[in-house]
C-alpha cells in the first residue's frame, strides 16, 4: 500500500494541476482541522490552496455527501476511498451528479482509524474494500491480495437472535437516540429535501423525541436506503451516542444482494435495485 504521506503529496499535486488548468472549479478533499488527528472535509477553488490539503488515517469522511449541493454541471474533482467511490457511483445512478462533471481522485487504502476510539475501521463497520470501484486518477497504487473478511460477518450475532430478541435489541439501541440527525446528515445517500422527518403536513413522526418516533425515523431511513446504502459506516461514526446503525444497513444490503444479485454503487451502468424490475428478480419477499 502506498504510504499515506505519499497519497497526500499526490493529492496536493493533482488538485493543484486540476485547478490551474481549469479542468475543475472545485476540489473536494481533506484539510487540516484543529490538530493533525482531526482533519476536516474541505473544498478548495484556488490552486494555491492545494498546499493545505492533507491525507491521513483519520480522513474517514465520505465526501460524496457534499456533491449534490453543487449546481448542476459544476466541474468537481473529489477524493474517494473505496466506499466513497461507491457512493459517487450510486449518486450517478440516481442522476444526482453526472460522471462527465466529475474527476475522481481514487485512494486505495486500508487501515483507516476511527478518531473517537483510535480503532482500525474494518469489515465490522464498513464494506471493507481497499480500492475505489471507479477512478480517473489514482493517488496510490492499487492494493492486491487484501483479505479483510466479509462485511456481513458482523451480522452473525444479530442473525442468531430470535425475532423478539432482535426487536428488544433495536428498541434499546434507539432509546439513546437524541434525534440530532447526524446520521442522515452525514449520509451521502440522504439528500431528500425535505426529509420526511422535516415535513409538517403530514407529520410522519412525533417532533418530540419519543421512542415511537425514533423507530419511525430510523426504520424508514433504513428502508429508504435499501439497495442504496454503500456501507461506508459514516452514519454510525457520526452518531454522538454510538448507535450501531451500520448493523441494520448491512442486514438490508445483504438481503438486497441475495434478492437482486447487485450491490449498491458498484457499477455506473446498474440501476438502483429498488427502481429496477427484471423478470429474473426473486419473488422471495412476496411469499
Amino acid at each position: 500500500m502506498t504510504a499515506m504521506k505519499t497519497i497526500e503529496e499526490n493529492l496536493k499535486k493533482e488538485a493543484k494541476q486540476l485547478l490551474e488548468s481549469g479542468e475543475v472549479a472545485v476540489v473536494i478533499a481533506y484539510g487540516r482541522g484543529f490538530d493533525e488527528n482531526h482533519p476536516m472535509p474541505c473544498a478548495i477553488t484556488k490552486a494555491e490552496e492545494s498546499e493545505g490539503l492533507v491525507f491521513n488515517e483519520y480522513c474517514t469522511f465520505n465526501l460524496a455527501r457534499y456533491l449534490p449541493k453543487y449546481p448542476p454541471k459544476t466541474k468537481i474533482a473529489i477524493a474517494v476511498k473505496a466506499a466513497d467511490s461507491r457512493a459517487v457511483v450510486q449518486l450517478i445512478q440516481e442522476e444526482k451528479v453526472r460522471k462527465e462533471d466529475l474527476v475522481l481522485l481514487g485512494i486505495p487504502v486500508t487501515g483507516m482509524k476511527d478518531q473517537k476510539t483510535g480503532e482500525v475501521i474494518d469489515n465490522r463497520t464498513t464494506c471493507n474494500l481497499a480500492n475505489p470501484v471507479i477512478h480517473d486518477i489514482l493517488l496510490g497504487e492499487e492494493i492486491h491480495g487484501f483479505k479483510g473478511g466479509s462485511p456481513y460477518d458482523v451480522l452473525a450475532k444479530l442473525e442468531a437472535m430470535s425475532e423478539d430478541e432482535r426487536w428488544a435489541f433495536w428498541k434499546k439501541e434507539f432509546e439513546r437516540c437524541t434525534r440530532c440527525f447526524a446520521c442522515r446528515k452525514a449520509c451521502p445517500m440522504c439528500y431528500c429535501d425535505p426529509c420526511f422527518m422535516d415535513a409538517s403536513r403530514p407529520r410522519w413522526a412525533d417532533k418530540s423525541p419519543t421512542p415511537d418516533g425514533h423507530l419511525m425515523y430510523h426504520l424508514t431511513r433504513f428502508y429508504h436506503l435499501a439497495g442504496r446504502c454503500v456501507d461506508c459506516g459514516e452514519c454510525s461514526r457520526a452518531c454522538p451516542v454510538d448507535i450501531p446503525l451500520y448493523l441494520f444497513h448491512k442486514k438490508v444490503a445483504k438481503e438486497c444482494e441475495a434478492l437482486f444479485q447487485q450491490s449498491a454503487g458498484m457499477k455506473i451502468e446498474d440501476k438502483p435495485a429498488m427502481v429496477n424490475y427484471g423478470n429474473q428478480d426473486s419473488d422471495e419477499m412476496l411469499k
Binding site: 484543529f34 478518531q115 476510539t117 440530532c180 447526524a182 409538517s200
Partner: protein, 345 residues
Amino acid sequence: MLKKIALEKVGDLVSALMGKGPLYAPVRGEKAVDFQEIRNPADVTLDFYNTAMSPKSVFFPQSEDMIRYKLGKEAMETEPVPIDTKPSVILGVRPCDAKSFEIMDRHFLGAGVIDPYWKDKREKTTVIGYAFDPSVPPDPADFYNTLGIGAFDTAGSDIFMIRADKELLLKGITEKGDRLLKDLAILEAGSKADEKVFADLSKKGGEVKTRFMDLKDDAVARKLVDVFGNKEFWEKVTAACISCGACTFVCPTCYCFDIADETLFRDGVRKRFWDACMFTDFTLEASGHNPRPRTFQRYRQKVCHKYSYHVDKYGCISCVGCGRCTRSCPVNIDIFSVVQSAMKQ
C-alpha cells in the same frame, strides 16, 4: 465543611445519596460515560474524563410534558402537568459543566420571565462537582481555560469533590451543600491535614492547561458583530458543516427548545423538547419563508449567539469550553478555532 470517605467505600456513599432522593451520576455505557438516574450503586463510575452528553438534561430534560389535554366535541379538557421534583443529587459534575448551570440560570431565571420547570429542579437539586484529574492530560478539544474555568473550580457546585490518594475529599461550597454533607453519616470529618491536602490539590488544578486564547467578553462580542457580514469568512469556516444538531445537543449551555402538541386519538400532550439552530426547519416560517436557509447562516447564528448576543443580553459568553461540540462533530468543526480566526479578521 470538609468531609472524606475512603475510595473503596464510594459504593456506600452512592447508596447513602440514593437514600436522599433520585441520584444522577456517571454510568459507563458500551462506549461512553453518561449521567443517568442510578438504580444500582455499582453502576456509578468516577473513572471517566467527561461524559459524552452534558448534564443539562437533569434540569432541562430533552423532552418535558407541560399540559395534558383531551379533545372533546365542544370543549377541551386541559390539565397542567404538576411541577414537583423530588429533592435530588447530581454527583460527579466536572467544573466546566457546573459553571454551565450558572450560565443557564441567567437565561431561565434572570431574564424577567422565570422558567418554573428549570427553577424547581435547580432549587431541589444539590450539585456535587468533581475536579478533573490533574494526572490525566486534558482532551485536545477542551478549552475551558479560555472561558476562565480551571480544572478545580468550584463555581456552580454545592459540594466539591477531589480525589486524593486513597480517599475522596468533599468540601461544602454552599449552604445547601453543607446541609447535605452534615446529613451523610457515612462520611468522616476532614482533619486539618486533609484541609491542607485539599488546598494543595486545588493549587495543582491551575497546572492543568487546556487550549487557551485571551478572550475578553466585550471584545469578542463586538468583533463578531463586525465579522457578521463577512459571508466569505463564514462560508469558509462552515464549508464542512453538515448542519446536524449533534453540537447543540451535547452542549451544556444550548437551551433552545420547541413546543408541540402531540395528539394520539383524542389524548394529547403539549410538550417542550430540545431544538437546534442548526436544523433547517428551526427558523422555517409558516409562509414557507426561511430567513436562514444556508448552513453558514445557521452556524454563524450559533457562534454569534454564544459569543456575542449572549454577552450583550446576559453579560457573559454562553460557552464553558467543555469541548463536547468539537468532539462530537462528525466533521471536526471546532468552535475554538472559528472564534480564534474571527478575532483575527
